[in-house]
Protein backbone atom coordinates (compact mmCIF):
# COMPACT_ATOMS: atom_id res chain seq x y z
CA UNK A 1 0.00 0.00 0.00
CA UNK A 2 2.93 2.30 0.71
CA UNK A 3 3.40 2.62 -3.08
CA UNK A 4 0.11 4.50 -3.53
CA UNK A 5 0.59 8.14 -2.60
CA UNK A 6 -2.19 10.52 -1.70
CA UNK A 7 -1.53 12.53 -4.84
CA UNK A 8 -1.91 9.43 -6.99
CA UNK A 9 -5.15 8.55 -5.26
CA UNK A 10 -6.61 12.02 -5.84
CA UNK A 11 -5.60 12.17 -9.52
CA UNK A 12 -7.00 8.69 -10.15
CA UNK A 13 -10.22 9.61 -8.37
CA UNK A 14 -10.62 12.81 -10.38
CA UNK A 15 -9.85 11.01 -13.63
CA UNK A 16 -12.44 8.34 -12.84
CA UNK A 17 -15.06 10.99 -11.98
CA UNK A 18 -14.30 12.88 -15.21
CA UNK A 19 -14.57 9.62 -17.15
CA UNK A 20 -17.96 8.72 -15.69
CA UNK A 21 -19.29 12.26 -16.28
CA UNK A 22 -17.96 12.16 -19.84
CA UNK A 23 -19.72 8.88 -20.52
CA UNK A 24 -22.95 10.27 -19.10
CA UNK A 25 -22.76 13.37 -21.30
CA UNK A 26 -21.91 11.25 -24.35
CA UNK A 27 -24.91 8.97 -23.71
CA UNK A 28 -27.21 12.01 -23.37
CA UNK A 29 -25.93 13.60 -26.58
CA UNK A 30 -26.21 10.28 -28.44
CA UNK A 31 -29.87 9.97 -27.42
CA UNK A 32 -30.58 13.57 -28.39
CA UNK A 33 -29.09 13.28 -31.89
CA UNK A 34 -30.51 9.81 -32.65
CA UNK A 35 -27.21 7.98 -32.54
CA UNK A 36 -28.45 5.04 -30.47
CA UNK A 37 -29.56 1.91 -32.36
CA UNK A 38 -32.46 -0.20 -31.00
CA UNK A 39 -30.10 -3.08 -30.14
CA UNK A 40 -27.99 -1.00 -27.75
CA UNK A 41 -28.56 -3.45 -24.87
CA UNK A 42 -26.82 -6.77 -24.34
CA UNK A 43 -23.24 -7.90 -24.71
CA UNK A 44 -22.74 -6.38 -28.16
CA UNK A 45 -24.83 -3.29 -27.45
CA UNK A 46 -21.92 -0.98 -26.75
CA UNK A 47 -20.18 -2.03 -29.97
CA UNK A 48 -23.39 -1.64 -31.99
CA UNK A 49 -23.93 1.84 -30.57
CA UNK A 50 -20.35 2.89 -31.22
CA UNK A 51 -20.55 1.60 -34.81
CA UNK A 52 -23.91 3.21 -35.56
CA UNK A 53 -23.02 6.54 -33.94
CA UNK A 54 -19.65 6.86 -35.67
CA UNK A 55 -21.08 5.81 -39.06
CA UNK A 56 -23.90 8.34 -38.73
CA UNK A 57 -21.39 11.09 -37.93
CA UNK A 58 -18.88 10.11 -40.65
CA UNK A 59 -20.86 8.56 -43.49
CA UNK A 60 -24.34 10.12 -43.43
CA UNK A 61 -24.16 11.36 -47.02
CA UNK A 62 -21.46 9.19 -48.58
CA UNK A 63 -22.33 7.22 -51.71
CA UNK A 64 -21.76 3.48 -52.09
CA UNK A 65 -19.13 2.57 -54.65
CA UNK A 66 -20.51 2.15 -58.17
CA UNK A 67 -18.81 -0.14 -60.69
CA UNK A 68 -18.31 -0.09 -64.45
CA UNK A 69 -20.69 -2.27 -66.47
CA UNK A 70 -17.82 -4.67 -67.25
CA UNK A 71 -17.60 -5.70 -63.60
CA UNK A 72 -21.18 -6.96 -63.35
CA UNK A 73 -21.12 -10.54 -62.00
CA UNK A 74 -22.30 -13.23 -64.42
CA UNK A 75 -24.53 -14.86 -63.46
CA UNK A 76 -25.81 -12.82 -60.52
CA UNK A 77 -25.97 -15.14 -57.52
CA UNK A 78 -29.48 -16.13 -56.47
CA UNK A 79 -28.94 -17.36 -52.95
CA UNK A 80 -30.98 -20.14 -51.41
CA UNK A 81 -34.17 -19.08 -49.66
CA UNK A 82 -37.16 -20.65 -47.96
CA UNK A 83 -39.86 -21.96 -50.31
CA UNK A 84 -42.30 -19.32 -51.50
CA UNK A 85 -45.81 -19.35 -50.12
CA UNK A 86 -49.05 -19.93 -52.06
CA UNK A 87 -49.88 -16.23 -51.98
CA UNK A 88 -46.64 -15.46 -53.81
CA UNK A 89 -47.22 -18.25 -56.31
CA UNK A 90 -50.71 -16.92 -57.07
CA UNK A 91 -49.31 -13.44 -57.78
CA UNK A 92 -46.47 -14.93 -59.82
CA UNK A 93 -48.95 -16.90 -61.97
CA UNK A 94 -50.64 -13.59 -62.80
CA UNK A 95 -47.34 -12.05 -63.90
CA UNK A 96 -47.29 -9.94 -60.72
CA UNK A 97 -49.99 -7.69 -62.21
CA UNK A 98 -51.75 -7.68 -58.83
CA UNK A 99 -48.60 -7.04 -56.78
CA UNK A 100 -49.17 -4.02 -54.53
CA UNK A 101 -46.91 -1.87 -52.43
CA UNK A 102 -48.87 -0.19 -49.65
CA UNK A 103 -47.52 2.68 -47.59
CA UNK A 104 -48.98 3.88 -44.30
CA UNK A 105 -47.98 5.32 -40.93
CA UNK A 106 -46.73 8.88 -40.48
CA UNK A 107 -47.60 10.04 -43.97
CA UNK A 108 -49.95 12.70 -45.26
CA UNK A 109 -51.66 10.33 -47.70
CA UNK A 110 -51.42 6.56 -47.21
CA UNK A 111 -51.23 4.96 -50.64
CA UNK A 112 -50.96 1.70 -52.50
CA UNK A 113 -48.95 1.33 -55.70
CA UNK A 114 -49.02 -1.31 -58.41
CA UNK A 115 -45.77 -2.35 -60.08
CA UNK A 116 -46.83 -0.57 -63.28
CA UNK A 117 -47.38 2.61 -61.29
CA UNK A 118 -43.92 2.34 -59.75
CA UNK A 119 -42.43 1.72 -63.19
CA UNK A 120 -44.16 4.82 -64.55
CA UNK A 121 -42.07 7.06 -62.31
CA UNK A 122 -38.62 8.16 -63.52
CA UNK A 123 -36.41 5.11 -63.05
CA UNK A 124 -32.86 5.18 -61.76
CA UNK A 125 -30.13 2.60 -61.98
CA UNK A 126 -27.01 1.85 -60.02
CA UNK A 127 -24.26 -0.75 -60.45
CA UNK A 128 -23.45 -1.69 -56.88
CA UNK A 129 -22.30 -4.66 -54.89
CA UNK A 130 -24.61 -6.77 -52.79
CA UNK A 131 -22.51 -8.04 -49.93
CA UNK A 132 -23.79 -10.78 -47.64
CA UNK A 133 -22.65 -11.28 -44.06
CA UNK A 134 -22.01 -14.92 -45.04
CA UNK A 135 -19.14 -13.67 -47.18
CA UNK A 136 -20.39 -13.94 -50.75
CA UNK A 137 -21.02 -10.89 -52.90
CA UNK A 138 -22.04 -9.95 -56.41
CA UNK A 139 -22.18 -6.83 -58.50
CA UNK A 140 -25.32 -6.07 -60.48
CA UNK A 141 -27.13 -3.22 -62.12
CA UNK A 142 -30.23 -2.44 -60.07
CA UNK A 143 -33.11 -0.56 -61.69
CA UNK A 144 -35.92 0.99 -59.70
CA UNK A 145 -37.31 4.05 -58.02
CA UNK A 146 -35.49 5.69 -55.13
CA UNK A 147 -37.34 5.05 -51.88
CA UNK A 148 -37.17 8.80 -51.27
CA UNK A 149 -39.40 9.40 -54.31
CA UNK A 150 -42.12 7.10 -52.95
CA UNK A 151 -41.82 8.75 -49.54
CA UNK A 152 -42.16 12.13 -51.18
CA UNK A 153 -45.31 11.03 -53.03
CA UNK A 154 -47.05 9.98 -49.81
CA UNK A 155 -45.78 13.01 -47.89
CA UNK A 156 -43.72 11.88 -44.91
CA UNK A 157 -44.50 13.85 -41.77
CA UNK A 158 -41.60 15.76 -40.20
CA UNK A 159 -41.61 13.74 -36.98
CA UNK A 160 -40.91 10.47 -38.86
CA UNK A 161 -37.71 8.72 -37.77
CA UNK A 162 -37.82 5.23 -39.23
CA UNK A 163 -39.16 3.41 -42.26
CA UNK A 164 -40.23 -0.22 -41.83
CA UNK A 165 -40.38 -2.46 -44.88
CA UNK A 166 -42.12 -5.81 -44.99
CA UNK A 167 -41.68 -8.79 -47.27
CA UNK A 168 -44.61 -10.92 -48.45
CA UNK A 169 -42.93 -13.54 -46.22
CA UNK A 170 -44.16 -12.51 -42.74
CA UNK A 171 -40.88 -13.57 -41.14
CA UNK A 172 -38.88 -10.99 -43.04
CA UNK A 173 -39.22 -7.35 -42.07
CA UNK A 174 -36.65 -4.63 -41.43
CA UNK A 175 -36.37 -0.95 -40.63
CA UNK A 176 -33.94 1.86 -41.41
CA UNK A 177 -33.52 5.38 -40.15
CA UNK A 178 -34.44 8.41 -42.26
CA UNK A 179 -30.79 9.03 -43.23
CA UNK A 180 -30.81 5.70 -45.06
CA UNK A 181 -34.43 5.92 -46.22
CA UNK A 182 -33.79 9.26 -47.97
CA UNK A 183 -30.34 8.27 -49.27
CA UNK A 184 -30.24 8.55 -53.08
CA UNK A 185 -29.02 4.95 -53.52
CA UNK A 186 -31.77 3.38 -51.42
CA UNK A 187 -34.00 1.88 -54.09
CA UNK A 188 -37.16 -0.07 -54.51
CA UNK A 189 -35.67 -2.21 -57.28
CA UNK A 190 -37.84 -3.92 -59.92
CA UNK A 191 -35.17 -4.54 -62.55
CA UNK A 192 -31.73 -6.02 -62.80
CA UNK A 193 -29.05 -5.93 -65.51
CA UNK A 194 -31.42 -4.36 -68.04
CA UNK A 195 -34.21 -6.89 -67.41
CA UNK A 196 -36.96 -7.72 -64.94
CA UNK A 197 -35.71 -8.53 -61.43
CA UNK A 198 -35.63 -12.36 -61.23
CA UNK A 199 -37.57 -13.99 -58.38
CA UNK A 200 -34.32 -15.58 -57.16
CA UNK A 201 -32.89 -12.10 -56.62
CA UNK A 202 -35.99 -10.74 -54.94
CA UNK A 203 -38.33 -9.97 -57.84
CA UNK A 204 -40.75 -8.45 -58.48
CA UNK A 205 -39.80 -5.79 -55.89
CA UNK A 206 -36.83 -5.64 -53.58
CA UNK A 207 -35.35 -2.99 -51.36
CA UNK A 208 -31.75 -2.16 -52.19
CA UNK A 209 -29.56 -0.61 -49.50
CA UNK A 210 -26.02 -0.80 -50.89
CA UNK A 211 -24.37 0.79 -47.85
CA UNK A 212 -25.43 -2.07 -45.60
CA UNK A 213 -25.07 -5.85 -45.65
CA UNK A 214 -27.34 -7.96 -47.83
CA UNK A 215 -29.85 -9.03 -45.21
CA UNK A 216 -31.13 -5.44 -44.98
CA UNK A 217 -32.00 -5.57 -48.71
CA UNK A 218 -35.27 -7.41 -48.13
CA UNK A 219 -36.85 -9.31 -51.03
CA UNK A 220 -40.52 -9.31 -52.15
CA UNK A 221 -41.52 -5.98 -50.61
CA UNK A 222 -45.28 -5.45 -50.19
CA UNK A 223 -45.59 -2.87 -47.45
CA UNK A 224 -43.91 0.19 -45.95
CA UNK A 225 -44.70 1.86 -42.64
CA UNK A 226 -43.28 5.24 -41.64
CA UNK A 227 -42.99 5.73 -37.90
CA UNK A 228 -41.30 7.70 -35.14
CA UNK A 229 -40.80 4.71 -32.83
CA UNK A 230 -39.77 1.10 -33.16
CA UNK A 231 -42.15 0.06 -30.40
CA UNK A 232 -45.10 -2.07 -31.40
CA UNK A 233 -43.22 -3.89 -34.16
CA UNK A 234 -42.31 -7.34 -32.87
CA UNK A 235 -40.13 -6.99 -29.80
CA UNK A 236 -39.32 -3.37 -30.57
CA UNK A 237 -35.84 -4.13 -31.85
CA UNK A 238 -36.58 -2.80 -35.31
CA UNK A 239 -36.35 -5.95 -37.40
CA UNK A 240 -36.78 -9.70 -37.55
CA UNK A 241 -33.05 -10.21 -37.99
CA UNK A 242 -32.23 -8.12 -34.90
CA UNK A 243 -34.53 -10.41 -32.91
CA UNK A 244 -32.51 -13.32 -34.29
CA UNK A 245 -29.27 -11.74 -33.05
CA UNK A 246 -28.11 -9.81 -36.12
CA UNK A 247 -27.14 -6.15 -35.94
CA UNK A 248 -29.94 -3.68 -36.68
CA UNK A 249 -27.47 -1.35 -38.36
CA UNK A 250 -25.55 -3.48 -40.84
CA UNK A 251 -23.20 -0.87 -42.32
CA UNK A 252 -20.57 -2.59 -40.15
Amino acid sequence: MSDISRRKLITTGLAAAAGVTGLGVAAHMAQKYGLVPPDHAGIFGFGETLTYASQRLLTRHSLAREFPRSQISKPPLANEMPPLKDEFKRLQAGGFADWRLSVNGMVAQPASFSLDQLKSYPSRSQITMLQCEEGWSYIAEWIGVPLSLVLELVGVLPQARYVFYFSIDPYWWESIDMADALHPQTFLAYGMNGDELPVGNGGPLRLRLPRQLGYKSVKFITHLTVTDSLKGFGKGLGSASTEAGYAWYAGI
Binding site: Q55, L58, T59, S62, L63, A64, R65, M129, Q131, G135, S137, P210, R211, Q212, L213, G251, I252
Partner: protein, 111 residues
Protein backbone atom coordinates in the same frame (compact mmCIF):
# COMPACT_ATOMS: atom_id res chain seq x y z
CA UNK B 1 19.39 -17.18 -31.47
CA UNK B 2 21.32 -20.46 -31.45
CA UNK B 3 20.09 -21.17 -27.94
CA UNK B 4 16.55 -20.55 -29.13
CA UNK B 5 16.95 -23.10 -31.90
CA UNK B 6 18.27 -25.61 -29.35
CA UNK B 7 15.09 -25.02 -27.28
CA UNK B 8 17.13 -23.76 -24.34
CA UNK B 9 15.20 -21.40 -22.18
CA UNK B 10 17.06 -18.34 -20.88
CA UNK B 11 18.37 -18.12 -17.35
CA UNK B 12 16.26 -16.39 -14.72
CA UNK B 13 18.20 -13.13 -15.03
CA UNK B 14 17.98 -13.02 -18.83
CA UNK B 15 14.30 -13.81 -18.74
CA UNK B 16 13.43 -10.31 -17.47
CA UNK B 17 14.45 -8.70 -20.72
CA UNK B 18 13.15 -9.50 -24.21
CA UNK B 19 15.40 -11.23 -26.71
CA UNK B 20 15.77 -10.40 -30.38
CA UNK B 21 13.11 -12.80 -31.61
CA UNK B 22 10.60 -11.60 -29.05
CA UNK B 23 11.25 -7.96 -29.93
CA UNK B 24 10.90 -8.67 -33.65
CA UNK B 25 7.65 -10.57 -33.21
CA UNK B 26 6.16 -7.85 -30.98
CA UNK B 27 7.16 -5.19 -33.52
CA UNK B 28 5.62 -7.26 -36.30
CA UNK B 29 2.36 -7.78 -34.42
CA UNK B 30 2.02 -4.16 -33.34
CA UNK B 31 3.20 -2.43 -36.52
CA UNK B 32 2.12 -4.88 -39.23
CA UNK B 33 -0.55 -7.38 -38.16
CA UNK B 34 -2.79 -5.09 -36.09
CA UNK B 35 -2.87 -2.21 -38.62
CA UNK B 36 -3.47 -4.74 -41.40
CA UNK B 37 -6.32 -6.50 -39.62
CA UNK B 38 -7.99 -3.15 -38.89
CA UNK B 39 -7.53 -1.96 -42.48
CA UNK B 40 -8.86 -5.17 -44.07
CA UNK B 41 -11.72 -5.17 -41.57
CA UNK B 42 -12.74 -1.63 -42.52
CA UNK B 43 -12.42 -2.57 -46.20
CA UNK B 44 -15.23 -5.10 -45.70
CA UNK B 45 -17.59 -2.47 -44.31
CA UNK B 46 -19.95 -1.28 -47.07
CA UNK B 47 -20.65 1.91 -45.17
CA UNK B 48 -17.05 2.81 -44.33
CA UNK B 49 -15.81 2.23 -47.90
CA UNK B 50 -18.60 4.46 -49.21
CA UNK B 51 -16.91 7.32 -47.34
CA UNK B 52 -13.29 6.23 -47.95
CA UNK B 53 -13.28 4.08 -51.13
CA UNK B 54 -9.46 3.82 -51.21
CA UNK B 55 -9.59 1.43 -48.24
CA UNK B 56 -10.96 -1.27 -50.49
CA UNK B 57 -9.71 -0.25 -53.95
CA UNK B 58 -6.06 -0.36 -52.78
CA UNK B 59 -6.60 -3.96 -51.71
CA UNK B 60 -8.16 -4.92 -55.04
CA UNK B 61 -11.73 -5.39 -53.87
CA UNK B 62 -13.81 -6.57 -50.98
CA UNK B 63 -13.16 -10.28 -51.54
CA UNK B 64 -9.36 -9.75 -51.49
CA UNK B 65 -9.78 -7.82 -48.25
CA UNK B 66 -11.73 -10.73 -46.87
CA UNK B 67 -9.01 -13.27 -47.75
CA UNK B 68 -6.28 -11.08 -46.27
CA UNK B 69 -8.36 -10.48 -43.14
CA UNK B 70 -8.75 -14.24 -42.68
CA UNK B 71 -5.03 -15.00 -42.88
CA UNK B 72 -3.99 -12.03 -40.74
CA UNK B 73 -6.46 -13.11 -38.07
CA UNK B 74 -4.95 -16.62 -38.22
CA UNK B 75 -1.48 -15.10 -37.72
CA UNK B 76 -2.76 -13.15 -34.71
CA UNK B 77 -4.33 -16.29 -33.28
CA UNK B 78 -1.00 -18.11 -33.70
CA UNK B 79 0.76 -15.24 -31.93
CA UNK B 80 -1.67 -15.39 -29.01
CA UNK B 81 -1.23 -19.16 -28.63
CA UNK B 82 2.59 -18.97 -28.66
CA UNK B 83 2.48 -15.94 -26.37
CA UNK B 84 0.37 -17.77 -23.76
CA UNK B 85 2.55 -20.91 -23.96
CA UNK B 86 5.67 -18.78 -23.40
CA UNK B 87 4.08 -17.03 -20.42
CA UNK B 88 3.25 -20.40 -18.87
CA UNK B 89 6.77 -21.71 -19.48
CA UNK B 90 8.36 -18.59 -17.98
CA UNK B 91 6.22 -18.86 -14.84
CA UNK B 92 2.56 -17.96 -15.04
CA UNK B 93 2.19 -16.22 -11.68
CA UNK B 94 5.29 -14.06 -11.78
CA UNK B 95 4.58 -13.05 -15.40
CA UNK B 96 0.99 -12.12 -14.66
CA UNK B 97 2.16 -10.04 -11.72
CA UNK B 98 4.70 -8.32 -13.95
CA UNK B 99 2.08 -7.62 -16.63
CA UNK B 100 -0.40 -6.09 -14.22
CA UNK B 101 1.93 -4.05 -12.01
CA UNK B 102 4.54 -3.27 -14.65
CA UNK B 103 7.42 -4.41 -12.47
CA UNK B 104 8.96 -7.75 -11.55
CA UNK B 105 8.13 -9.40 -8.23
CA UNK B 106 9.74 -8.27 -5.02
CA UNK B 107 12.16 -11.18 -4.96
CA UNK B 108 13.34 -10.44 -8.51
CA UNK B 109 16.15 -8.13 -9.45
CA UNK B 110 15.08 -5.43 -11.89
CA UNK B 111 17.12 -5.27 -15.06
Amino acid sequence: MANHLRFQRPSAAEAWSYNLLQRLSYLFVILVLFPLVIWTGLAMSPSFVSAVPATVTLLGGQQSARTLHFFVSLALLLFVLVHVVMVCLAGFRSRMRAMITGRPGKNMERI
